[in-house]
Amino acid sequence: MTEAGFSDVELGAAGLAVSLRDVTKTYDNGVMALGPLDLRVRKGEFVSLLGPSGCGKSTALRIIAGLAAPSTGRVQVLHDAAATLPGQNRPGQGIGFVFQEPTLMPWTSVRENVRLPLKLANMPASQSDTQVLEALTRVGLADFADSYPRELSGGMKMRVSLARALVTDPDILLMDEPFAALDEITRFRLNNDLLALWRNLKKTVIFVTHSVFESVYLSQRVIVMTQRPGRIGAEIMIDAAEPRGEDFRTSAAYSEYCRNVSAALAPSYAGQAAL
């Protein structure tokens, strides 16, 4: 469980944003989904968790977010006091979460969807207006503030979801296969936009995906997870020159990284029935 205060100092001193130690998760039906998992993520790092479906990578993300409790082990998440909202000192404000689906409220406008985290923190609308608009501008949707989610395309909905995660200016952005359901062109574009945001905002990003190409393109470090129960199978550093762009996506180095990551991932699929 998160232990505020003590762990913050300890984590901060080590330059870490997230630390998991011997974390396991066993479901009520006795299935062990995760671990034991050891994971340390530095402040400002972009890390991908890559693995086959059902390997527990989403579970790990939910544990970091505090949406699920680990069965055993220790979870520490740094909450920068400066990033919490005025008058808000509760944990959780330092984390933004993007789900696999856009997860928008269909009954209200894009603007109100993005405003939600601030509204839940009891910030008056007059005060949150500028922050909401700023977040929407960052994802290029300022003109769609008054649209309803159903009027947007899949990619635009995902951008709204991203704007909502950014509106509290969190230190840590957790993303659970956010672009998996999008077409390839839209996904490439959102990948580039996400990288640009990461460069500008200096967030710590933990990105769950099952796409080798996406993980290599985006991250500084790819963590390959094994089959259930999910553990770390391999870690691969991606030392590509920044800023990355379409050049990187078509470079020989990129292919080389993808080959290495695929090779590291192969054992995770071994023993599974032919697809």
Binding site: G92, P106, P117, L120, Y148, R150
Partner: protein, 277 residues
Amino acid sequence: MSTTQIGRAPTSAAPADRAFKVLRILLPVIVAAAGTAAWEMVVRLNNIPPYVLPAPSAVFSTLFSDWGVLSQSLLTTLLTTLEGFIAAAIGGIALALLFNLSKLLEYSLFPYAVILQVTPVIAIAPLLLIYLPQQTAVVVCAWIVGFFPVLSNTTLGLNSVDRNLAGLFQLYRASRWQTLLYLKLPTALPYILGGLRIAGGLSLIGAVVAEIAAGTAGAGSGLAYRIAESGYRLNIPRMFAALLLLSLAGIVIYAVLALISHLLLRRWHESALGKEN
């Protein structure tokens, strides 16, 4: 030749669509007109006396000549229905909210809500009339039949919250009150409106049932009471006229609730969106 046919196909589709819409309105009207005409003919050709079967013309003339009495009764019944409906709406939604807060309460009380629903209201009405003042008993009847659909639909709606949205509210440390107000109630709104639409019609039925039961005891002034009273007096045309008004009242109640539902949901809910979306 083939090109002209291809060119014509899309243009002929739109008028056909419109013709279909007109037909949907026109056909029931034609059926009503034909039915009424046949009824009128049968009565006139066979010289059936009005106390056996009144002709539609006799029903309509009674509607106009007795409008003073009938409109008063209509107002009484509508008022009872409205009171029962509002009580059902508030009671159903409030109970569903309580059930949502406490499973213990739900397990304790839900079976009794079901029992109240499955026991025929016509059998309960005479008992209620013994223990309660008549006006109250009639409203309670309207409430009993109306509240269950609101309760069960609202319960279903409150339990239909998107799992990830619930997670998001948890992540941002939403209070119970915020979760209810900003997540559960909006999610449940289409379900609640569906329940209310059913409850509107049922409240009218409850009110009529109670009035009939009260009417046999010799008191009352609603439309159903008029039907019972006219029956004793063999004033069959007035029975038909009162029945016609009851049907119209039911249709209007349904239409108003459907309109409110449409206005509240039209911007976002699938049920209120056009096919092209």
